[in-house]
Amino acid sequence: MMDLGPIILSLKLAVITSTILLLLAIPIAHWITYSTSRWRPIVQTLVAMPMVLPPTVLGFYLLLLFSPNYPLGHFLEEHLGIRLVFSFGGLIIASLIYSLPFMVQPIQSGLQNLPVSLREASLAMGKSKFVTLQKVLLPSIRSSILTGVVLSFAGIVGEFGVVLMIGGNIPDKTRVASIAIYDEVEALNYANANSYALILILITFLILLLLYYFNGNFLKDLVR
């Protein structure tokens, strides 16, 4: 009998991580777009790195970083009683880092493609940068934001390497759907692996369908 735990865990991880990511990515993308600081290329590179690195590399270093045998992991465990390796919390942090570029890039390119005059017009009306972002810029790039949310959500559901390195394979804690498939195949339970895989295909299909459906509607909305 197939256990639905890994699917639920995957969705839970994706929902929590995407929500936090959205809140993180908007200020980062805004800063990258409008900053004239000389640190800009460095920040941009760091944000984009997880996209090109093999997930196992990221997972490996996070594993060392969070391990109680190393300073940060030791500090967290000693003083805060938090252990991030092989835990759901660790999965969230690893997924945040891994998916950051998938959320930041679309929002950033959405902002960069807006005419500068939109922002300047709002500033000249006496509006603060925050109000300008909230009322003028973000509503103008709704489709980019939706793209970012969907890409990172789907990416987290499908991620395997980072999750395996940092989370391992603990039922109901870190065994997400992608890991469960691998696990079932190893145990030669092809039927179960197939069920998980089909469910993942279905979820991905629905998510992307929603994206294209809503993005089409946003565009229609703007020309109404």
Binding site: P115, S117, L118, E120, A121, S122, L123, A124, M125, G126, K127, S128, K135, V136, P139, S140, R142, L222, V223, R224
Partner: protein
């Protein structure tokens, strides 16, 4: 009263050049900035609005210092609160016409929003989004929006450049109506002589990064070589060449006039050229229209 004396190094088509301008403008008047493209007219507006920092100089508006390099004063665009009509209109795409104007009006209240919608004849369009508006309609919204915050100063960056001649004339009327009604002080960037004559009280002509002439439009654009007293500046609309003569139709203000000129002169003209139309030998007849 506006006093502006600024210096800024700008990147142009032929490398960097120094923009160094000095001008002033009385309250409730309109100043036109005139000059070839790339001469830095838009940069002047941006520096006045606080969207670009001058390298040196001072900008003072109605007794208040907005920028002074030596005193290290540089008010943010939010504090300067100028009404800015951008070349691309910069209407907020996710907001309707009404929301665009309301957003700009802020705490000025609903009265001014309604007044502007009536004045700019936007009632029918107020629930549309900018993507569905024509160029002239966008222009009217941009104008209403720039005035909605009751700005200290209205800056217009070639506001009518993208529109055809007929629409231009209509919008010039709108623009004049709005500046009069709200007693605005404005700076207008324009390439169009008839527009400058119609709307500007003063004109500053910029060349090679400097003010080469400043004064009333009639003085700045008067051609000293013509002695006739009766003269207008117009724009060539259409040319028709014949054996010895050319028939040229010239737009002077609202009026189209038809003039027969020598073919050799006719061959040097093209539609869109600016010309001076003057009579030399005859005294014009003036009749009162009842």
């Amino acid at each position: 009263m506006i006093r502006c004396n600024i210096e800024k190094e700008l990147a142009g088509n032929l490398g960097t050049f120094m923009l160094n301008v000095d001008f002033s403008l009385e309250r409730h008047k309109t100043l036109a900035l005139f000059g070839a493209s790339g001469v830095g007219k838009t940069s002047i507006l941006r520096m006045v609005a606080g969207l670009m920092d001058p390298d040196k100089g001072r900008i003072e508006v109605n007794g208040k210092v907005w920028f002074d390099k030596e005193l290290r004063i540089n008010l943010s665009p939010q504090v300067r609160k100028v009404g800015y009509v951008f070349q691309d209109y910069a209407l907020f795409p996710a907001m309707t016409v009404l929301q665009n104007i309301r957003y700009a009006a802020g705490d000025q209240g609903e009265d001014i929003v309604q007044e502007l919608i009536d004045l700019m004849e936007l009632g029918e369009l107020k629930n549309r989004r900018p993507a569905l508006l024509s160029g002239g309609q966008k222009q009217r919204v941009a104008l209403a929006r720039a005035v909605a915050q009751r700005p200290n100063l209205l800056l217009l960056d070639e506001p009518l450049a993208a529109l055809d001649a007929e629409l231009r004339l209509k919008l010039q009327e709108h623009l004049m109506r709005i500046t009069k009604q709200f007693e605005l002080t404005s700076i207008l960037v324009s390439h169009d002589l008839p527009e400058i004559f119609k709307m500007a009280d003063r004109v500053v002509r910029i060349s090679n990064g400097r003010v080469v002439e400043e004064g009333e439009p009639e003085d700045v654009f008067a051609n000293d070589q013509v002695s006739g007293k009766f003269q207008f500046i117009g724009q060539v609309y259409e040319l028709e060449h014949q054996d010895l003569n050319s028939i040229v139709r010239i737009l002077v203000g609202h009026q189209m006039v038809r003039v027969v000129i020598d073919l050799t002169l006719g061959n040097t003209l093209a539609p869109g050229d600016r010309v001076l139309v003057a009579t030399k030998a005859f005294n014009p007849v003036v009749q009162k229209i009842v």
